[in-house]
């Protein structure tokens, strides 16, 4: 029970970090609130020129590597999915 709560907390924190860092560093729209299930790639919110920035940001902040072949909406398209990916890699 404790572990589930812990991992939920962890996921919420990851999403919250991603929310602010993506809005500030990648989109340059600090006031933008990205919801956890909002589509990032297929909607064009993160354009193709910024996909590398996203993978560099994830590596810097979470020490998790995302390969360039994984930078597409089939692998992840929302903060929620991205957080799951980060958690699965971190273990």
């Amino acid at each position: 029970m404790e572990r589930i709560e812990e991992s939920l907390m962890e996921k919420r924190e990851i999403i919250s970090t991603l929310q602010s860092r993506i809005a500030e560093d990648i989109l340059n729209i600090p006031e933008k609130v990205i919801t956890p299930d909002e589509s990032l790639i297929s909607s064009g919110l993160i354009d193709s020129f910024s996909l590398v920035d996203l993978s560099m940001l994830i590596e810097d902040v979470f020490e998790v590597r995302i390969d360039d072949t994984e930078l597409n909406s089939d692998v992840f398209d929302s903060l929620d999915q991205l957080a799951n990916l980060i958690i699965s890699r971190a273990k």
Binding site: S43, G44, S48, F49, V52, D68, L71, N72, S73
Partner: protein, 562 residues
């Protein structure tokens, strides 16, 4: 001497059938192809075109992923004597309706007889009402080469019969406006350009061209595809979609295959400098590069510095920096610099330049800007500067750049009126502002309200029309323009709009809706959307929104706020 595209290609195939001319990155690995391989692939498509009665002189549109089939289909269409035109690929973020609309406008004007595409596009075809248009034939890439022989021995290539003044290919730029203006180029124009350009580049037997550029763009099609394949220069090719996610692959390819020549739009200098990790450059050696040519968007000294500083430790020579001024209407290059001599940088007075008057070498104590030379015209091209009444201007006076050459477009395809208006006394009006100093050409701005992002031409009108489709946006009260972003080395798009009164309490939703709609219906991502009060936007006497004036006002206000 007669110039014929098919003849040139077939000569190479006959002379050097086993030469490995193309290395293409597909799914992470390089596929190696000889001239014979490309010829065989092309014949597959040529047979399909013959079978479906697509004639010599017919326009054939290609919508294919950046891969081998695109290359085979392109040469297949050429060998059949038909006119290939590559349409930008439908990316996942673009909505289908918008793409269809653009495609329809292309069909209405260019009147293609056939479309070559891939199986994934099958559903799209159903929406196109092909029976109502000229488009009678659709060929799918996976259905070619079935039930017939393997070689082209028995094919009578109709392409060999094309005359040198007949149209060889069409080039389109992206967006609604761009797709309605197909640049038609003759066999002769293409070869006059290629002959002259390869001389300007001092092409030699050790040259290897490395490119990630899309083939629907003139720089990708001419410098990064036709020049190498028709002149026997080994080509290493990757998809722009692969490069943008992993820019280090370009550097690794240059290192591995000893690349000597590469063409990049200005933003790519910044992009490569900023977005490649050290670990991806382990053992990379860039010392083979002799010319990295900056072309197709405004060139900046700061981008060159960023690039050199980042890659000098990996062997990149400063002398490899090169520049070119080019346009599809001249097939490609107008000028070239940085091949045998270093690029010239010209420091001029900022205020005079901004007022579009003249480029005066700066005096001490005045604000200045460093202009990057595009070099001298290549041997078959003449360049002059004219004022608004068409008179030729002197050295260092700023005006519109006009060009004359033996490689000009035959015309905008089926658009005689626009073609006629583009010329003045036999000179092509480029729409770019610039000046000449010591026989070198400098580009200082644009007459047309064109936004260039990452080398791609974006027409502000297309973006304004999309934004006007958002609920709450005041029709006719939207302006779009580009503002240079130093860090990125290219322009960011700004949209300024008035909104209807009842939406004033809901500004954020309108902003969000504009952002989403632009992202899905155009090739760009918006950074800044500004909602302004009535009276903010400056209009011309005829009531139209004045883009240049509004851009100036926006920049002044932004600077004063900082």
């Amino acid at each position: 001497m007669t110039f014929n595209f098919s003849k040139k290609f077939l000569n190479q195939v006959d002379k050097l059938p086993d030469k490995q001319i193309l290395r293409m990155l597909i799914d992470g690995d390089y596929k190696h192809l000889t001239y014979k391989d490309i010829y065989m692939g092309a014949c597959r498509y040529e047979r399909e075109l013959i079978k479906t009665d697509v004639n010599s002189g017919d326009v054939v549109i290609l919508i294919l992923p950046h891969g081998l089939d695109l290359i085979f289909a392109y040469f297949g269409v050429i060998l059949n004597g038909s006119i290939p035109s590559i349409m930008p690929f439908l990316t996942e973020k673009l909505i289908a309706e918008k793409y269809r609309e653009d495609f329809k406008s292309l069909i209405e004007i260019s009147k293609p007889s056939a479309l070559i595409t891939f199986p994934g596009f099958k559903d799209e075809i159903k929406h196109l009402d092909t029976h109502k248009s000229s488009l009678g034939v659709v060929i799918f890439s996976n259905e070619t080469g079935l039930n017939h022989g393997l070689d082209g021995e028995f094919l009578k290539h109709k392409g060999l019969l094309r005359l040198d003044n007949e149209v060889a290919l069409l080039q389109h730029s992206s967006g609604t406006t761009g797709l309605q203006k197909g640049v038609a180029l003759s066999h002769k124009a293409i070869f006059n350009q290629l002959e002259s350009y390869q001389a300007a580049l001092i092409i030699n037997k050790d040259d290897v061209i490395v490119s990630w550029l899309p083939l629907y763009h003139d720089m990708g099609l001419i410098a990064g595809f036709l020049l190498p394949l028709l002149y026997g220069i080994p080509l290493v090719l990757m998809s722009p979609f692969d490069w943008v996610k992993a820019p280090h692959k370009l550097m690794q390819a240059i290192s591995e295959y000893k690349g000597t020549l590469c063409w990049l739009p200005n933003f790519a200098y910044n992009f490569c400098a900023r977005k490649i990790r050290d670990r991806d450059l382990t053992n990379v050696d860039l010392s083979s590069l002799r010319a990295v040519t900056n072309c197709s968007e405004p060139m900046r000294l700061s981008s060159h510095e960023m690039f050199i500083n980042r890659f000098k430790p990996y062997g990149l020579k400063e002398s490899a920096l090169a520049t070119s001024y080019a346009m599809a209407e001249n097939v490609f290059a107008v000028t070239q610099a940085g091949i045998d001599l270093p690029i010239t940088y010209d420091e001029v007075d900022l205020i005079f330049l901004q007022e579009n008057k003249s480029a005066i070498p700066v005096k001490e104590g005045y604000r200045s800007v460093v202009m990057v030379s595009a070099g001298r015209p290549i041997s078959n091209v003449e360049v002059k500067i004219i004022d608004s009444t068409g008179n030729f201007l002197n050295e260092r006076q700023i005006g519109e750049i006009v060009i004359r050459s033996n490689c000009m477009l035959s015309g905008y395809y089926n658009r005689d009126e626009i073609t006629r208006k583009s010329f003045i006394d036999g000179w092509f009006k480029t729409g770019d502002f610039g000046y000449i100093a010591d026989q070198e050409i400098y580009i200082s701005g644009r007459k047309k309200d064109l936004i260039i992002i990452g080398g791609k031409n974006i027409y502000p009108k297309d973006l304004e029309t999309i934004a006007m489709g958002v609920e709450g946006v005041h029709p006719g009260r939207v302006v779009a323009f580009g503002v240079y972003n130093e860090l990125k080395g290219t322009e960011d798009v700004v949209i300024i709009t008035e909104i209807e009164d009842k939406f004033l309490n809901n500004k954020n939703k309108v902003i969000e809706d504009i952002r989403k709609k632009i992202a899905r219906e155009s090739a760009i991502t918006l950074r800044t959307i500004l909602i302004v009060d009535k009276k903010w936007l400056i209009k011309t006497s005829s009531g139209k929104i004045a883009r240049a004036l509004n851009k100036k006002k926006y920049i002044e206000e932004t600077i004063s706020n900082v």
